[in-house]
């Protein structure tokens, strides 16, 4: 199987920088790490490629400083590395991001399978996978925690709030991966030693045939208009003192209020 794996570089916790005007993340100024959920997506893609004698193409849409993350993905088993990088991509919401990834999928494909993480820890939307599927006219299955390749199809286990579902799917399709899906392998020493030789292919909007109007901030229908810190009411009761005393006091207040 030829598999595309979407990897999102996210700001390292604590290094988040936000543009005061557009309220979008300034990714080029943040220290980037791989979105933790995408490690499971990459592992699922690599395991499946191994079982089916296939290849994994790792794709990120990110500023140039994300190159190291793709090199990491190589150490974890990705075969080809592609960085979609262009000023025109900046400030993209999920619709513009998924459009860009869809253009890349058409350019670099055809793929039998596209694998995304369940959710990213910065955007926290879980939208890019299904939106990407829609742009490509492919079916999608979210929150997959197990993948079994059959002859001409895949058997997927999807998690739902009530339990799980077993789904038979015919490729090509898009799936998003749960963190329970696997235990990601450590980086391969052999691959770490070869990191200097591997190429990270850098593609611009023109290279993937993307239309300007669908890209970046301009192509993003959603806009953050402002941000605010939530306010809290002022009538709180504060209790402090030795543990015995505060426990006693807390219980008597709760009793007074009829809560216990």
């Amino acid at each position: 199987m030829r598999i595309m794996c979407c990897l999102k570089p996210v700001p390292k916790p604590g290094s988040v920088k936000v543009d005061p005007e557009t309220h979008t993340l300034k990714r080029e100024e943040s220290e980037l790490v791989l979105n933790p959920y995408d490690r499971y997506a990459l592992e699922a893609a690599v395991e499946l490629a191994e079982k089916t004698n296939g290849k994994v193409v790792a794709v990120s849409m990110a500023p140039p400083n994300a190159k190291d993350i793709l090199l990491e993905a190589f150490a974890f088993g990705a075969d080809e590395l592609v960085l979609l990088s262009d000023r025109a991509f900046a400030g993209a919401d999920t619709l513009a991001t998924s459009y860009t990834l869809a253009c890349a999928a058409k350019k670099l494909g055809p793929f039998d399978l596209i694998v995304c993480g369940k959710v990213s820890v910065d955007g926290e939307t879980a939208q890019v996978g299904p939106e990407l599927a829609a742009w490509l006219g492919l079916p999608s299955v979210t929150w997959v925690k197990d993948i079994k390749p059959l002859n001409d199809s895949l058997e997927l286990i999807r998690t739902r709030e009530f339990g799980e579902e077993k789904i038979k799917a015919k490729p090509p399709l898009v799936i998003t991966i749960e963190h329970e899906a696997n235990v990601p392998r450590p980086p391969s020493i052999k691959r770490l030693l070869k990191q200097d030789e591997v190429e990270v292919k850098i593609l611009s909007a023109g290279d993937i045939g993307a239309k300007e109007e669908y890209l970046g901030l301009n192509g993003s229908p959603t806009q953050v208009i402002d941000t605010f810190a939530p306010e809290y009411h002022g009538k709180r009761e504060i209790i402090s003192g030795p543990p015995e005393e505060v426990s006693e006091r807390l219980l008597s207040i709760l009793k007074e209020r009829g809560l216990i």
Binding site: P13, V16, V18, H23, L25, D93, T94, L95, S98, D122, G123, E124, T125, Q127, G129, P130, E131, A133, A134, W135, P139, S140, V141, T142, W143, E155, R160, F162, G163, E164, E165, K166, I167, K168, A169, L173, S220, P221, T222, Q223, V224, I225, D226, T227, F228, A229, K235, E237, I238, I239, P243, E244, V246, S247, E248, L250, L251, L254, R257, L259
Partner: protein
């Protein structure tokens, strides 16, 4: 944009009944429709047995239920459901469309957004209306910081997903009048290469914390799994359930079913006690519906302490066992009285 009118919500059929989240969307949807002086519609795809549910939805304030009832909608298949919802949106042109952020809603809404090239805001916790241009202002936590973002969408309908538990359950309105309209999608919409071959319900072990009246929750401040375990004793004494922050779930102190917040669930208990929880916005967005919030923290400046109705400054590892001891005593006293 004038061509778009009305508020629409997605009605989720679970296979047996209408999902709780639909009733929560009905209450917020009704409020938004009233503020915009427009109608509220429910888009309901499901198998034929979902028909009765359609009339039920009207008694909770829906003006119109647009139902598609077909055997082939027995299982949720992302592609079929999304095309049907997209066809309905194109025909009925609502100005607002809300989805539940259930597993189904989170899979469906972005597919619809992708098909129709629309903006979609994930996991909103509040909405405001800007009257002059009928804009829906969508509020959600922003980028891992202690701030909320107000978001608008340039496309119509303005679409958002809403985390279950954020809004109250709609109230039944006796004698509310509405209509059911059957929508027949194109045959094309039913094409799919997905097949659900088995559904396995998970064994019912835990209490559903979204329904608990009392929640005792713990965070990293409890220091160890051993201390955390004591929350279960306290929960039992208070007839409540145990909640948790994300890091303690990831440490394996408790399963993720107990996680409260953006990645977990929203809760609406009468009483919430948070032990050793800092009160990150990621956690507290799940606490919007709490009536009385108690924080127990050594740091009086922790955000949860500022938000609390009762802020207890002290070591949670000492206070927790003391509360258990004292409550036990209280209980046996009450029993003897």
């Amino acid at each position: 944009m004038e061509n778009y009118q009305g508020v629409a919500i997605f009605g989720e059929w679970t296979g047996r009944e209408i999902h709780e989240s639909t009733y929560e969307l009905l209450s917020e949807g009704r409020r938004l429709a009233d503020e915009l002086k427009t109608h509220l519609i429910v888009l309901l795809p499901g198998p034929p047995e979902a028909k009765e549910a359609a009339s039920e939805l009207i008694s909770y304030g829906a003006d119109k239920v647009i139902a598609t009832l077909d055997e082939r909608l027995n299982d949720f298949r992302d592609d079929i459901y999304a095309r049907i919802v997209a066809e309905k949106i194109e025909k009925y042109r609502p100005e607002i469309m809300l989805f539940p952020a259930t597993s189904l809603g989170q899979a469906l809404a972005p597919r619809v957004a992708g098909l129709l090239k629309l903006g979609l805001t994930a996991h909103c916790i509040a909405f405001e209306i800007r009257q002059e241009d009928r804009t829906l202002i969508q509020v959600r936590p922003s980028f891992g910081e202690q701030v909320m973002a107000r978001i608008i969408s340039r496309t119509r309908p303005q679409m958002a997903t809403v985390r279950p538990g954020v809004f109250p359950h709609a109230k039944k309105i006796e004698g509310y009048q509405g209509e059911i309209e059957i929508f027949r999608p194109s045959e094309e919409a039913f094409k799919s290469s997905l097949e659900v071959i088995e559904k396995r319900p998970k064994p019912k072990t835990d209490v559903d914390i979204t329904k608990a009246q009392v929640i005792v929750a713990g965070g990293l401040g409890l220091g160890s799994k051993e201390h955390f375990q004591k929350l279960f004793d306290l929960a039992e004494l208070l007839d409540g359930a145990v909640g948790a922050t994300r890091p303690v779930c990831h440490l394996g102190w408790i399963s993720e079913d107990h996680m409260i917040g953006v990645s977990g669930v929203s809760v609406r208990p009468k009483l919430y006690l948070g032990f050793g929880i800092s009160g990150s916005l990621h956690h507290t967005v799940g606490l919007q519906g709490v009536e009385t919030l108690v924080a127990i923290n050594i740091d009086e400046k922790a955000p949860l302490m500022k938000q609390a109705d009762i802020a207890v400054q002290g070591d949670a590892r000492e206070i927790l066992p003391l509360l258990i001891k004292k409550l036990k005593k209280l209980k046996s006293q009450r029993e003897n009285d």
